[in-house]
Subunit: 230 residues, 2 copies
Amino acid sequence: MDVRALVFDVFGTVVDWRSGVAREARRLLGDRFDGNAFADAWRKRYAPSMDRVRSGELPWAPLDALHRTSLDELLAELGAGDVDGATRAELVLAWHRLDPWPDAVPGLIRLRRRHVLAPLSNGNVALIVDMAKRASLPWDVVLGAELVEHYKPDAEVYDSAPRLLALQPGEVLMVAAHVSDLAAARARGLRTAYVHRPAEFGGRVDPPATDPEADLSVSSLTELADRLGC
Amino acid sequence: MDVRALVFDVFGTVVDWRSGVAREARRLLGDRFDGNAFADAWRKRYAPSMDRVRSGELPWAPLDALHRTSLDELLAELGAGDVDGATRAELVLAWHRLDPWPDAVPGLIRLRRRHVLAPLSNGNVALIVDMAKRASLPWDVVLGAELVEHYKPDAEVYDSAPRLLALQPGEVLMVAAHVSDLAAARARGLRTAYVHRPAEFGGRVDPPATDPEADLSVSSLTELADRLGC
């Protein structure tokens, strides 16, 4: 496979959103809620919130803004309308402070030697930059939804990667832990690599061990580096 | 000055375009032309080529495409219409292979510890990424003209930096060796730092030692790190 650039889904593929959001919820809300359950409930609103933008029901808004709206809805539903605005703003930043899976940084460092590495996430640029600085994720460039004001799986996001990198779609490998993301990337001509992340949803969801439609299936980014000869 | 992010002009401010283009011209065209004169003549077409896009005379095109058009014009003018297409394509990549000024990488490494660093260049994303990988420029994120399909000094480019970094304009410091770039940034609310680069045009242009309108004037990026306490 002659790929020049690797573009990554981030939430779940590179970083463990559930533990990080749970940690921040516990820090900011105390033991009022179960941290993991809070993270799961918040994340459940993620795809529907983007779908409201994708359908045109809402104008473009960066993910931080969608996270804030869905947090406000969730707190209301949980009878926690008393949580103040400063705490809510700080909770939204939980998504900027997620830890990478243990294999992520070592794998990315190896992959970066011979490839351009970029996130291709629905996270807004500031979120991805904050996360990368905190977690030492060695991106060469930040790509993703906000640059084209479309959320994955809209075609515009996948198309933006080869366009901005001045590559052919087949020279770009999309790396993700979600088969739907990879299917949408493949439909735009990108190569695809599936990463098995069974812990993403704390065991409540059992993702397939491999994606037969992908060019590669691996269980870590260090295995991906092995497979690509890095 | 409470700045959170530093955004940089690149050609002339961070890298020495003249020596790099001259080197590649000598490598690819032999001693047919004087390398420095070739670089100067090509660069002379830079601002006018962007002005054709800025005025709406031409649709958006990334800098690589403008460089190719101006190269074709220059070669025709020099009676070198015989230079083949592969050589022309390789010459365009000269702008991806520019060396940083000696203080640039040490200065950026220090500045990066406490700030988000981004190029805010008219160079297209692929150009800036290739340059950064070759020269080890430690950008956190690549911003610039191509993301908004406007060339500096259009306001859209300066406005994109605080917007995408989720900062106030006054939290962003524009760093450049050209007073016109800084004046345009200041008009959009950014803070400004002038870098004196007397060698940029090989001594043919004598830039001012300081910019009295800027928040800071320095003679290197290491001096900028000193001044910002990094």
